[in-house]
Structures are given as C-alpha cells and as structure tokens.
Amino acid sequence: MTYFSLLSINGLVIGLIYALMAAGLTLVFSVLKVVNFGHGSLYMLGGYASYYAIGLLGVPPVAGVIVAMVALFLFGVVFERLVLAPIYSDKVERKDEYAIIVTFGLTILLTNLGLVVFGPFSKSPPAFLHGTFIAGPLILPYDRLIAAVIAVIILSGLAWFLARTSLGQALDAVSQSRDSAAVIGINPKRMYTIAFGLGSALAGGAGALVAPIFALSPNMGELPGVQAFIIIVLGGMGSVGGSIIGGILLGIVQGLGVGFLPDPNRALAYTQAFGALLLIIVLLVRPTGLFGRAHMRLE
C-alpha cells in the first residue's frame, strides 16, 4: 500500500509538471489553432535557461524557474513574430501544414543546437532544497515537493489570469472567434503573439522545474513532448482545465503502471505505447477529448 501511495504521489508530481507543459501547448492551440510540434524543445530550452541562470548569474534555484519563463516568453514572441506570423495573412495557403513544418523544424534546430552548444552529456542544476519531506508513510524529496508546489502556483495563476483579467478574457475571445474579437476592438495579432509567448513560457517553466529532478539533456523534450500531445488530446484540445486534469491523470496512471507490470524491459516499452494508444483511441472515438469545448470541435 505504501509503495503504491508513493508511486501515485510521484506520479502526481510528474503529472503536475506535464500539466504545466500541456497547458502551454493547449493555450497555443486554442488561440492560434496551431499544434506546436516544437513544444518539447522549448521545455528543454527552459531547463538549460534555468541551469545557466543559476550557474552563471548566480540566481537562487527557484528564481531560475522565473528566469527560464521570462527567457522562453521572449523566445516565443520572437519566433511567433518572425516565423508564425505569415499564417494569419493570405501568403500561406495551407496553414496547418505550414505550422506543423516550421514548428517541427524548430525541434530539429533546437535539439541539435542543444547538442552542439550544451553538449550531449547530462547536466544537473543544484537542488531547490536538499533533503526529504517525510509525513507518515509519505516520503518525497523536497525537490519534487517544491516543483509540485510551484507548478500548482503557476497553474492557478494561469487559471486566474485567463478567467479574471481582461487580457486573459481577450485571449479567450480570440480563441472562440478571431473576427468577432476583432470587432469588439481586440487585436488578434497581438493576442497570437502573447499566447505563443505564454505557451513557450509554460513549457520553459516545466523544463526548469524538472531540471533538478531529472538531469538535463538536449533530447529531454522528446518524451514529454509526446506526453503533452497525449494530454491535450485526452483533455480536449484547447481546454486549459482539461489539460491540467489530463496531465495529472496521465502522470498517476503511468506512475502506477510501472508498479503493476512484470517483465521490466517489455513493460517500459509498452508503458510509452500505452499513451500513444490512448491518443489514437481518443482521436477516433471522441476527438473533442474529455473536456473539449464545443467551438474547438474537429472540423
């Protein structure tokens, strides 16, 4: 029992970080109608941003997360302005394919740039706080506990921002109808830029939170990137709340799955396949996901 509660607590922590990443992906999708195939590499970039902020600038580890988010926000804004912006004009004929190709190109670019610049060997930033949190049967390293707490703070902040601030509501308005939002005086192009920047910042924050728990490596974004796709499809593409619940769900299920499967070699391969299978089934059976909003429906 203790073993499984431990697994589910660990799953919950990882799930929260997945949720953070998936929330960014789904925010970008809901506003820009673009699936960012480079999201995993932005997560990687966030991890390294925090690592170098801590190592070179000497900021405290928790502030490293903030530095990573700010850096990735700026990166996202620049990338959106330079590369994604043509989607909204008539210069691009097939917008879906264009977006997939350029964001996929971003992954190739950043992953290999990471290999060249950061080196192929894994790096570990200092822990947020050394030691282990013990409460009865629960044992959780402080790193994971703090990562989970920060993830919850960021996610609550995001939910508050989207629901309560005028900027957040403007983003929501654009996600529902670009033209109607423009009619009431919202500049959709500005919202696209902000949404992509925020989405990138969330990926970067997730990467920075994970950095002390798992080591950093240039292709660390590959697996969480795929996980984030699964989560946003599961939670309903475009639903930030759905992506949070989907993320926690997937984290716990995978955490527990490891405990249940015999034959570790085969089990490891098939735990990953399980997520992909889930994605296929959801796309076929219920393309709006568990919490999909009607206006995000598959065209």
Partner: protein
C-alpha cells in the same frame, strides 16, 4: 504547351543523366552514399504525394518503410521465401495496412492527422523494440543481400531505377483525374465532395499507393544495408524525410527527389561538422517554408522557363484590405 521544349525538362534529363553516370566517376564510398540517398528519395517523393498533393500530413511514412524492411527480411529468414516473392508480398501487405490506416483517418485532418500518425509510428517503433524474439529489438535484424559480390553499384542502379519508376508511376497517376481530385481534396475536402469527388475512395487510394512505395523503399533499404533496427522509425528520421521533401518541393515529386539527394549528399559532405549539419537542416527547413513554400526545385524550374509568379497573385497584403465577409468556417 505540349511538344514545346522547356528548359526545365532539359534540367530533369540532365539530372537523370548525371545520376546514371555518377558511379563511373565517383568512388565506392559515394556510390554507397548515393544508393542510400535513393532510399530517402523514394520516401520523400512518395511522402510528397501524400502530404503535398493530397494534403494528408502523415508522420507514419517511415513506419511503413520499416514495416517493409522487417516484413521482407522476416519472410526470407523465417519462411525461406525468395526475395522475388517476399518483396511483392511485403508491398501488398503494406498496401492493405495503408488502406486500413487511410480508412481510419478519413475524418482526421491537419494537426489531428499528424498526431494520429505520429502515435501510430511510435507504437510500431516500440513494438519493434519490445518484441525481441521476432525482431531482435535494438540489436538489429540481419538481412540477406540481393546481389553477390561486395560492390554497391548494382544497388545504386536498382535504387535509381526504383526512383525513376516510382516517379513515372506517380506522375502517371497524377496526370489522370485522380491527380486533380487529390488536389481538390487538399484545397477543400467538403467542396470536392460537394462537386462529386469520391473523397473516401481517393484518400484511401493515396494512402495505399504511398504506403506501398514506402514499404518498397524499406525492402530496398533492408536488403541493401543488411541490418534493420527500430531506429528507422525515430522522429528525427521522419524529420529528415519531411525536410527533404519540403526543401526540394513538397508539391513537386522530382523536387522531393532532388531535395533528398541534396540533403543527404550535403549531410555526408559536411560529416565533420557533426550536429551542426542538423542545426542547418532545421534552419533550412524553417527558412524554405517561410520564404519559398513550394520548395527550391520548382523555383529553379520556373526561373529556367522564364516564368515568374505573376505579381500580386496571392500576395495581397491582407492587413490593408477591408474584410468583407465573416470568418470562413468549413461546414462540418
């Protein structure tokens, strides 16, 4: 238009001649590189038909290639079939599975289709890794060769022949009404359907055709290289195929072939630069897509023929044009 000589046709003939003559001047290493490039050329051209012409952006193309490689290898190794039988059987198997996938994804488009096919490819790769008893997992499966003697020259010409035949076959298909229908589906599936195009049939046809060609490429690769591993299906491998097709010209099948030859050739020439090559590849992919969406080869051809895109066409500055109608919503 027919019968008149175009310089772009001269370019194609010249490129074909150069490809056929290359083994006479190049050393064995570059013949080997060239023979591998034909594998990618087959994949890139058939993917260009699927994604560029029919608008079905699939990430599962390399999975079909791996399916081809493994299936032909296992048929010869386990059941003792001659390659003359295992290759056709493999292609038929891939076409059946291609039809199945085409039928499954009928309702999916754009990013949904891309995610779906990505998941299919991942599952297939993980199966290849996990089912070690059959596939030997990450150790790799040894595959018998096609030709005796150590030379790669026969493989080079086989690969080149396959590429030329595949191009002729695909262009033949595109020259019929099917080509027109595929483009109609790409531009607007619902409008095509309303105009009487059997979209279901044609989408399945394009999946069947391209799955068969991808599997053929995979069998060629397997019997040529002599070892297969699940790494054939990793995402960067698909990225390579996408980059080749997009850089060469996603809507031009010869363009995709040229793109594959150039990208693969460059990646060998610049080998000493290590990962920088792929940094460059990612950058080239973004830049080409950003500034020359139809790829570089059609641009060269257009330049040779003295045809420049008419100014103003689809270059309207949308920001300064008052919008007349509401948001365009595809009827669902």
């Amino acid at each position: 238009m027919h019968g008149t000589f175009r310089r772009s046709h001269g370019l194609r003939a010249l490129l074909l001649f150069a490809a056929a003559a290359a083994p006479f001047v190049a050393g064995p290493y570059w013949v080997h590189v060239g023979a591998l490039a034909w594998y990618y050329a087959l994949l890139a051209a058939s993917w260009a038909l699927l994604a560029g012409y029919a608008g079905q952006f699939s990430f599962a193309h390399v999975a079909f290639a791996a399916l081809g490689g493994y299936s032909s290898a296992l048929l010869t190794l386990r059941f003792g079939l001659p390659v003359a039988l295992s290759i056709p059987l493999t292609v038929i198997l891939a076409m059946v599975l291609g039809a199945l996938m085409g039928a499954l994804v009928l309702r999916l488009s754009g990013p949904y289709l891309a995610l779906f096919t990505l998941a299919i490819a991942e599952i297939f790769r993980l199966m290849l890794v996990a089912e070690e008893d059959v596939t030997r997992g990450s150790l790799g499966l040894q595959v018998p060769g096609l030709f005796s003697g150590g030379s790669d020259v026969p493989y080079y010409y086989l690969g080149l022949g396959l590429v030329v035949l595949a191009l002729l076959a695909m262009n033949g298909l595109l020259a019929t009404r099917v080509g027109l229908f595929l483009r109609a589906i790409r531009e607007d599936e619902h409008a095509a359907q309303a105009s009487g195009v059997n979209t279901t049939l044609h989408k399945i046809v394009v999946f069947v055709t391209t799955a068969g060609l991808a599997a053929l490429a995979g069998t060629y690769y397997g019997h040529f290289v002599g070892i297969l591993s699940p790494n054939m299906v990793i995402i960067p491998e698909m990225g390579l195929v996408v980059a080749m097709a997009v850089i060469g010209g996603i809507e031009s099948l010869p363009g995709a072939v040229v793109g594959a030859a150039i990208v693969y050739g460059l990646s060998e020439i610049l080998r000493e630069y290590g990962e920088w090559r792929f940094v460059l590849l990612g950058l080239a992919l973004i830049v080409v897509q950003r500034f020359a969406q139809n790829g570089l080869f059609p641009m060269v051809e257009r330049y040779l023929d003295g045809r420049v895109a008419p100014p103003g066409k689809s270059r309207v500055d949308i920001e300064n044009v008052p919008k007349m109608e509401g948001e365009y919503v595809k009827p669902s």
